[in-house]
């Protein structure tokens, strides 16, 4: 049971990462690879603030606020300097690596002696509350005019421009919020694992994308399941699967491969299921 709770907790932390990735990857259709740098960026920022005496809640919020700067950087690179978004994200990630080392001067910062946001109660409960708050705020934002224009920018940029709106402005807002969320997730992870390390961001993009894709396979047809909910469920399922793999005591060398295989199985199911659905529909028309 404890292992299930651990997986759930990690799933909740990564669900915020997934929601951030949702904005860039799914809604805006921009591949922002800077997450590998922004995730630890949030963690290092948190470490800096908590070490100078700021309380954990404020430090975590500040990590979100400064994290949005990463989005600002990436957007500036691809709008002002006309660098392709994919490369812009990679460049931001690379710059953040050095920035992260500079923030505290070290690549590994233990947090054992500082307070954390989880001190005031059950970690699981606190994470549930945080995730719900983030989800509700994000859902509300996407229903505002700005939110709708953001979604529209991702769907049909030409349409947005024809309305006389600056599509770049919405990309900027989207990327800033997304990176802020990724940084927030990093700060929460740091407090959860008890230390900050420069390697925290490695392979994090796999976790984010896998969460989104897994979330998509759940009841594909239903429209009431919002994409933010899907991202959360996807992240939790992904982490639970990882937890099962570890708990089964499988050969440690195969751990990563097994995680990847599980993701492949889900994606394959996703594709097979949608094909089956189309086939059923076609049969009906042909027989008529």
């Amino acid at each position: 049971m404890k292992l299930l709770i651990t997986s759930l907790e990690q799933g909740l932390i990564f669900s915020i990462l997934a929601m951030g990735m949702l904005i860039t990857y799914k809604i805006l259709d921009v591949s922002d690879l800077s997450v590998e740098g922004t995730f630890p960026f949030g963690a290092f920022l948190f470490a800096r603030f908590i070490s100078i005496g700021v309380n954990p809640i404020l430090s975590t919020l500040l990590a979100f606020v400064f994290g949005t700067m990463a989005g600002l950087l990436t957007t500036t690179l691809f709008t002002k300097l006309k660098i392709r978004p994919l490369l812009a994200g990679i460049l931001t990630m690379t710059i953040l690596y050095s920035v992260n080392l500079k923030i505290n001067g070290k690549s590994n910062i233990p947090l054992f002696s500082y307070r954390s946001i989880y001190d005031s109660g059950s970690t699981l409960l606190i994470l549930l509350i945080i995730v719900l708050v983030v989800k509700i705020l994000l859902d509300l934002f996407l229903k505002t005019e700005t939110g709708y224009l953001l979604i529209a920018t991702g769907d049909n940029e030409a349409l947005v421009k024809s309305l006389g709106e600056n599509s770049t402005k919405y990309k900027l807002i989207g990327l800033m919020i997304a990176n802020g969320l990724v940084a927030l997730s990093g700060a929460l992870m740091a407090q959860y694992q008890g230390f900050v390390d420069i390697t925290m961001g490695a392979s994090i993009i796999v976790v984010a994308l896998a969460s989104i894709i897994i979330g998509d396979t759940i009841k594909k047809k239903s429209t009431w399941l919002k994409n933010t909910t899907r991202a959360i469920i996807g992240a939790i399922i992904y982490k639970i699967i990882g937890g099962i793999a570890i708990d089964l005591g499988l050969n440690p060398n195969d751990l990563r491969a097994i995680n990847a295989i599980i993701v492949i199985v889900f994606i394959a199911y996703n594709n097979a299921a949608s094909n089956l659905f189309r086939f059923k529909g076609k049969g009906g028309v042909q027989n008529a």
Binding site: D197, I198, T199, S203, G243, P252, L255
Partner: protein
Amino acid sequence: MKKFSKVILLGLVAAVLMTGCSVGKSVSADDENKFEIGIIQLAEHPALDDARRGFEDGLKELGVDVEISYQNAQGDLPATKTISDKFVKDEVDLIYAIATNAAQSAKQATSEIPVLFSAVTDPVSAELVDSMESPGGNVTGTSDLSPMDRQLQLFKDLDPNTKKIGIIFNTSEPNSQVQVELAKKIAPGLGLEIVDVGISNINDIPQALDSIVNKVDGIYTITDNMVASAIGLVSKKAIENNLITIAGEDSHVSSGILMTDGISYYELGKQTARMAKEILVDGKSPSDIPSEKAINTSKVFNEETLNSLTIDINNDVFKDANKID
């Protein structure tokens, strides 16, 4: 289609229940004397593997009856947390954590189960222990900080004209930063100067090497996980440029570095096994066991490299040194 998704869901729930309900492998009555140890290793590479093997062999030699559960996090930090939590759930008698991040995760996961670490260069700044002499908690272990002064001295013993020493290190590893700074502190006293190159990716090593081979008289390889993975390349380039190489640990020498007067991770593992016996069998508390640096160091050299660099084996330096296989 609905049936298919139901089956998958059921399968998932079943798997979760199965693992959730496998409540801590309860030790049965006749296993009472067997101790359960959970080993968490950060990543795969020779030094960490040696630390693990040394620990397991050491326990065997000391006659401690153990059942070992070994998990490797493959460098994935969240996995270190999951593995640590798993060991806590399984109610193991001791956790053996190899490398700093693994030990930090273990410390975060439990303040009751004894945790022994190894292959951690600076346990104090990693906040694993309050101090080496009085760890003050449930965590203690062995540090792999090598006798750098003895090793740097070897450069001068082999060639008194050596002045500049090159060091390549991984900026992502806190232990490496510690060692580079230590080297820079010791070097002037030995009449040496350190030229350091920091890299963040293993693919940068060839360029980093090329940038220093013309500037230095020798290369010193610190105990850095990334350098350890590419040690063959380092020694090859050094030989091509006729540079003396000295290593921080003996697994580098097996892969081609000329020599070291240093620690053996295998022996360090055995040293940690002794601490494990004190905790499990003698009932000592980790806070009463001071953390240790490597007790034994040994001089080993690589004969092939020696010949390639055309160094005189009759040099005094090799008197008490052993050839490495």
